[in-house]
């Protein structure tokens, strides 16, 4: 569970050191790029380039596969099912009653699968090269209210803690002879009440304690909050920003203004 929540892998690669604001902007532009490109060849080039970025960020293969396992499954589903529901164009490869499979249909499935892959990988790169703290800091610097940023980072921070509490509560009730997954539907629902009630009470207590802890550390003492860690744009960050804008802007201009088929 905690591995799913926090994909971040500490490291010192160029992607890790990049300003998180630049990373967020770049990720948005690369996502848009993946959406506007419709030619399979160019999508494959984009996918290869993104895979290269994973390599530059030195993500471990096993962690990447775990993080992308659902995406990979969805891709397989898209490739298999797409041709059945999109039988347009010629040549027709196979026809039997209502089922008709065409070459453009198969290519359409592949194209969508690669697009989904690109979108997932772009966001995965952001998540594994940026700590949750940096991410929230960047969002706050980009105009998110600090209260919301803090709530966001606190909820992310408490997910693993909360999971551990729920496990402990389940253990405590199992030790009292409760069998969570046994009995009729009504019995099982009642069983979960014995987990739910302590969980809610613990959550409320935690929130209460947390708010006291925040207040005792002078949270909200002044409106113009100062920051211990400032984010500074280095020349290389500006360069990266320009490159990512160009990577999006050039194909977009070519496609929509000069009607180049992309």
């Amino acid at each position: 569970m905690s591995g799913f929540v926090d994909l971040y892998t500490a490291s010192g690669t160029i992607l890790h050191r990049m300003d998180p604001r630049v990373k967020i902007v770049s990720v948005v532009f690369l996502s848009l790029l993946a959406i506007i490109i419709t030619e399979l060849v160019y999508l494959l080039i984009l996918a290869a380039a993104l895979a290269g970025l994973i390599f530059i960020g030195r993500a471990s293969l096993s962690k990447t596969l775990i993080a992308l396992r659902y995406v990979l499954r969805v891709m397989v589903l898209i490739i298999i099912l797409w041709p059945f529901f999109d039988p347009h164009g010629t040549p027709v490869l196979f026809e039997f009653g209502l089922i008709k499979i065409t070459l453009p249909g198969i290519l359409g499935g592949l194209e969508t699968a690669v697009r989904v892959f690109c979108l997932a990988v772009v966001w995965y790169i952001l998540m594994f090269t940026t700590s949750q703290g940096d991410l929230v800091r960047a969002l706050v610097k980009m105009g998110l209210r600090f209260d919301f940023g803090l709530s966001l980072s606190i909820s992310l921070r408490f997910l693993p803690t909360f999971t551990a509490t729920v496990e402990s509560i389940k253990d405590a009730q199992r030790a009292r002879g409760m069998e969570l997954d046994k009995g009729s539907l009504k019995k099982r629902a009642m069983n979960y009440v014995s987990v739910l009630v302590p969980t809610i009470i613990m959550a409320l207590k935690t929130a209460d304690t947390l708010s006291l802890a925040l207040q005792s550390r002078a949270y909200g003492a002044r409106a113009d909050r100062t920051y211990l860690r400032e984010l500074w744009m280095r020349p290389v960050d500006y360069l990266a920003l320009c490159i990512s804008i160009a990577i999006f802007a050039i194909p977009a201009t070519a496609k929509y203004i000069f009607s180049v088929p992309l």
């Binding site: 509560i169 030790a175 002879g177 014995s194």
Partner: protein, 243 residues
């Protein structure tokens, strides 16, 4: 029986193996003569009851009575037996005066007694108490431990996980000292508190009165003193003997 040792030395892990909440990666656990591996947690909880450290992890009913009933009802006892077991558990933990109240409104010492009572009500032969006295004051600790002692005299085995060496000295008849996941000492409290080096390696300090006895060893006082009365008696005897 008391299990002592520094934090994260494996006390709770050992205890959770007793009722199947944790399963060993190697070796077998035998509970009351039967291998634990082919029994479910529910089956094992008839033999080994486990009261968790934090009572708030298990309390969820509207009244103390219902809370105590939950265990025996789960185990499927007939109604008259359930009633008898609940009565016994409420009495054993002296909860008569609060039995109609909501467990969440009670103070910590009472919430803990409710959680222990809910385990007693399942009528197990062995009761594991995970740090039952943490956060209680001296008076609450004494009352709780006297209740626990009574259960012990009924013939139940009490497994007590604790950091409080005074409780160990006063109540335990057997002490397991653990460090780094291993049992390094298995003896009565006198034997356990005699070797200061072993205890220090496990992050433990015996009760002050035992430490004092160690300091007085030169005067001929035995090192295995467990209570102040005993120390006074020893000193008087020693002085009488010198004359």
């Amino acid at each position: 029986m008391a299990i002592v040792g520094s934090n994260a030395c494996g006390k709770t892990t050992l205890a959770k193996n007793l009722n199947g909440l944790l399963r060993p990666t190697a070796g077998t656990v035998v509970v009351a003569g039967r291998a634990a591996e082919d029994q479910t947690v529910a089956q094992l909880s008839r033999v080994v009851g486990y009261a968790f450290q934090n009572p708030d992890h298990q309390l969820f009913c509207a009244t103390v009575d219902e809370e105590v009933r939950f265990g025996p009802v789960n185990l499927g006892y007939p109604e008259d037996q359930i009633r008898a077991k609940v009565e016994h558990a409420i009495e054993a933990m002296s909860l008569q005066s609060v039995r109609k109240l909501s467990p969440h409104t009670l103070r910590l010492s009472n919430r803990r007694r409710v959680s222990i009572a809910s385990v007693i009500a399942m009528d197990p032969q062995v009761i594991v108490l995970d740090e039952p006295t943490t956060g209680l004051d001296a008076g609450e600790t004494k009352v709780l431990m006297e209740n626990v002692l009574r259960l012990n005299r009924e013939g139940r085995t009490i497994v007590l996980i604790t950091h409080d060496m005074r409780i160990v000295a006063e109540y335990a008849s057997r002490v397991l000292v653990m460090t780094n996941g291993r049992i390094v000492l298995d003896s009565d409290p006198r034997g356990a508190f005699a070797d200061l080096d072993v205890l220090r390696n496990c992050g433990l300090v015996p009760p002050p009165v035992t430490l004092l006895a160690h300091r007085l060893a030169k005067l001929g006082i035995p090192k295995d003193v467990l209570s102040s009365q005993e120390l006074v008696l020893r000193i008087v005897l020693e002085k009488g003997g010198a004359r």
